[in-house]
Amino acid sequence: MSILSTGPAPLNGGSLTEEPNALKGIGLTKQYGGNTVLHGVDITLRAGTVLGFIGENGAGKSTLSSILAGIKSPDAGEMFLNGLPYAPTGPASALNSGVAIIHQEIKMVPRLSVAENMFLGRWPKKRGRVDTTSMAEQAEAALAVLGAKINPRRAVAGLSMAAQQEIEIAKAILRDPSYVIFDEPSASLGQEETEKVLDQIRVLRDRGAGVIYISHRLDEISAIADEILCLRDGHRAMAWETGEVSKDQMIRAMVGREFVYAHEAPKPAEPDVVLEVKNLARQGVFSDISFSVRKGEILGLSGLVGAGRTEVVRTLAGADRADAGTIAVDGKPVKISNVASAIRQGIFMVPEDRKGQGLNLGRSGGENMVLPWEKTLTPSGFVSNRTVKRVEREQAQELDIRGNLDIPVLFLSGGNQQKVLLAKWLVRKPKVLILDEPTRGVDVGAKAAIYEIVRKLAASGVAIIVVSSELEEVLGLSHRVLVMAGGQQRGILNREEALPDRVMELSVP
Amino acid sequence: ANAGGTGKKTIGVSMPEFHSLFYVAAVDGMKKAAADEGYELVVLNANGNSSQQVNQVQNLVTQQVGAVIFAMQDATAGAAGVAEAKGANIPVIAIDQRPQGDVTTFIGSDSVKASTELCDYLAKQMGGKGNLAIIKGVLGSSTEIERSKGCGSILEKNPDIKVVSTTNADWDENKAYNVAQDVLTANPELQAIFAQNDGMALGAAKAAAQAGRSNLKIVSVDGFPQVYDAIESGQVLATMSQEPYQMGELAVRTAIKAMSGEAGSIQKEQLQPTVLVTKENLEEARSAGYYGPAK
């Protein structure tokens, strides 16, 4: 340490580094096989402030965060922590220096208990032994701060994404870090949960922590940020020393042009009912669900996280089996016993968990897209690389997917992964398309693009069901909104009736 | 065909495994003879895998060794190996196990006869009656089959000897120890054990000692030096000694003969004596060095 600090002054001049209460990165650069994804970015995170961090999908937000948190090492540039050189050798060393991160992707060991997950790597000890009692108590306390009602002794497996996200946050809080990075924590949260997280961040900030908050929801950025940094294509595009920045300004900095998206009323649906669900139930999960979707209609499914929306649509898509109720397609009763039979009926589902349920991360974009359709892709039944490439090209164009689709989708940014997942289910034209959280973690531009795709599909006669925890999204897209709470159907609202207050009222169990 | 001799100075040796001391001693004998005569040996170990062994013979042929000495992993797998060598006009000396194909000579014990004599001795020691347990070697190996056969013929003649248990321990001492423990438990009235080789006899003897059943009559085949000690201390009753070291020496000498064009004068079968070793002739057997000079 002392040797380093008495050495030659760093490139960008001494003054930059001398800020005693900040986490700084100077000229941070990162390459992946010749492809530069961060170009000499400077960043300053001051203690006691929240730095809002924005940028399109693939702009490099997660990469930069990972470097700060010691998970990736920069190819060039240097970092300073409270005025001293900072070069973490791994996540452990960053944590020891007081820098924690809540990852964009939920990182849990499903078979271990909630408390165990929260204390991984730093178990509380008593006389050299792991103190399980105090572990559970502390976990419970940390969860309580967030207002989360999760039994710390249960296994993580089976918990909803929202619950897991809360655990992640509680885990970070437990470490009492001086700098925390929240990489899109709200992506899998509903409005209420998001509010709780923002409150929690304010508490952290007031205690003197420096917080980076990454989100594609610009309202949240406005609500929480004291300063804002915008990345574009790996460059520092814009930085504001205030949180008072208009949405338009932010969007312009992100996409480099004017861009406004306003939901407009969808085209009226056609009269024929495509999907008719009556008294659908799965024991202990949901019951008595009845609704219909018409040709060209978009039905929104709203409710608080855990309301059972995902469970309902999974049943329609054949992922789970119903215990009671009937499903009819085009007026004919159908039996949906597995995913293949749902697909045969033209019911396709884009699942909510893109990494766990949607994409085969080790394969290319094209291979993921053709997976459900291989048997019918060519008349001969032989699938060649050429065919796969052709589908990939067509879909990339159709959905404006950027980035290299020939490498495993694991390496794509979150937004592009989501588009690949969507593309997978649009290779064939669906009769009923179910979209579960279709814009989770997707940037404004891509989000608008997805909305356009959804509208176009509806206009072409597809019946669409959209599950979303973003109220604005459901209300903006749908003809009608079905609200669920506690596994029950609370009502179906027409577009005109579906005002946020009314929906929230029905959502509360 | 090879009347003029090959003029080569290398002999290939293919052994099925070194699990049994028998093969270790045979190779020692070969090494001794080869060193005496100024020949080089290429020794291979098939690790108990017959296909692997055929592959190895094939590789010896590729190397153009002058002759192959061959102890097959199992009774008939030899055919392919022999065919391989014959195809290349390389003389084959089979040892320990009689192969199917046409070989230059076979050097080994008569396993049926050996076990017949052994069990006959045992039957007499048992007074023609009592309970017997058999621990077999690797199932399906020719020595297992022949030893079962030889002993079986005696048991037929002694209806009052009851085989109360038949088990298998793969020629392995540790396995035999475990198996014998269970056999002893299940048969409190056991008088005798026939273990098909000495390694297993040692395991059985230790299990018997541990169970305090030192009155058991244990017999086996091989003549391992360790078993001589066990006979001396009374833990083992008798073993049918084979002469692996001498077989090894003879195999090399015969191979050299065949390589120098005297194949015609070699007998098709050179059966080696087996010796029943009991407390009475223990010293004699020890000094004979069937498993090589004392170490």
Binding site: N360 | T62, A79
Partner: protein, 317 residues
């Protein structure tokens, strides 16, 4: 230009490099190694392992494991021999029955794994034990000899100097490779091995695919049994030992497949197979002491794969 070559070199998988280096070393050290005859020997020596390795690779790509291939190989050919010698079926029919028995054992594995929810390791461990026992039981441990001449002839017959069984093995490899690459039912193995849930939600009948692959593996093991039988001119109840099983799985894994599924190919399995075959063959030619051979094999295997960093980014980000 130089970087181009470097780039190319980087894309060659580690095992291929390993194989090439081993071959160069062997040919420098032994005058016999690089002869056509010896190379053909290498191929024919590994042919039965190769057939089983194809099945094992399919199972491993799918995310499973099959320990029973060796004993299936022994049992199915023992059954063929028994049906021919003792029951008096015509030999071709006995052969067909043997192959069907192999497929049936595979089916048992498949059903245990899919409907019985038994871990593949345990299911196939059980059939491995059962198969090995039954193989011994049929003839009470005795090997069976005396097959029709045309059958034995198969192993002696050569086309263009290459034994038939080598062609058979190559055919199996090529068919499997084409299946994996071009047919939906083959391609989906990668999807299932990569993420079973994703595959299921894509409408793939995961269980059917799993069961089918175990059946194929069983069938190929029986086919390998025929190849060994024709070569050894006998039916051995104890064929297909643990060391064969190890060679089979090692070929697949050395080639670069991952035991956690989703990764692997027929080409790489073939490379893994050749590494094993060339090592066994070469060390014999070089006259390495039999006790030291395994040591050398161990060291070379590690060296052959250690240079392979190709898959790493997938594992650690």
């Amino acid at each position: 230009m130089q970087t181009r070559i470097k780039q190319l070199a980087k894309n060659i998988p580690g095992p291929v490099v390993g194989l090439v280096v081993i071959c160069i070393a062997m040919s420098l050290l032994s005058p016999y190694f690089l002869t056509p005859n010896n190379l053909i020997n290498v191929l024919s020596q590994v042919s039965y392992i190769g057939m089983m390795a194809v099945g094992a690779a399919l199972v491993i790509i799918l995310g499973g494991i099959d320990l029973s291939v060796g004993s299936t190989m022994a049992l199915s050919f023992m059954a063929t021999a028994f049906l021919y010698k003792e029951i008096g079926l015509p030999f071709w029919l006995a052969m067909v029955c043997g192959l069907l028995l192999g497929a049936f054992i595979g089916l048992v594995n498949g059903l245990l794994v899919t409907f019985g929810h038994v871990q593949p390791f345990i299911a196939t461990l059980a059939t491995m034990f059962a198969g090995a026992g039954l193989a011994l039981y049929i003839t009470n441990g005795n090997p069976v000899i005396g097959f029709p001449d045309w059958f034995l002839g198969l192993s002696r017959t050569r086309m263009l100097g290459i034994p038939l069984q080598v062609y058979l093995m190559l055919l199996v490899f090529v068919l499997a490779a084409l299946w994996l690459r071009y047919r939906p039912s083959g391609r989906q193995l990668y999807a299932i091995g990569g993420n079973e849930e994703v595959a299921r939600l894509s409408g793939i009948s995961v269980r059917l695919a799993q069961a089918r692959v175990y059946v194929i593996a069983g069938f190929l093991a029986a086919l390998a049994g025929l190849a060994v039988g024709a070569r050894l001119d006998s039916a051995q109840p104890t064929a297909g030992s643990a060391s064969d099983l190890l060679s089979v799985i090692a070929a697949v894994v050395i080639g670069g497949a991952s035991l956690s599924g989703g990764v692997g190919s027929m080409f790489s399995t073939f490379i893994g197979l050749l590494i094993i075959g060339v090592l066994n063959n070469g060390l014999t030619l070089l006259n390495v002491s039999p006790n030291l051979q395994p040591v050398v094999i161990g060291v070379v295997i590690v060296l052959a794969v250690i240079s392979d960093r190709g898959n790493l980014p997938l594992k650690r980000t």
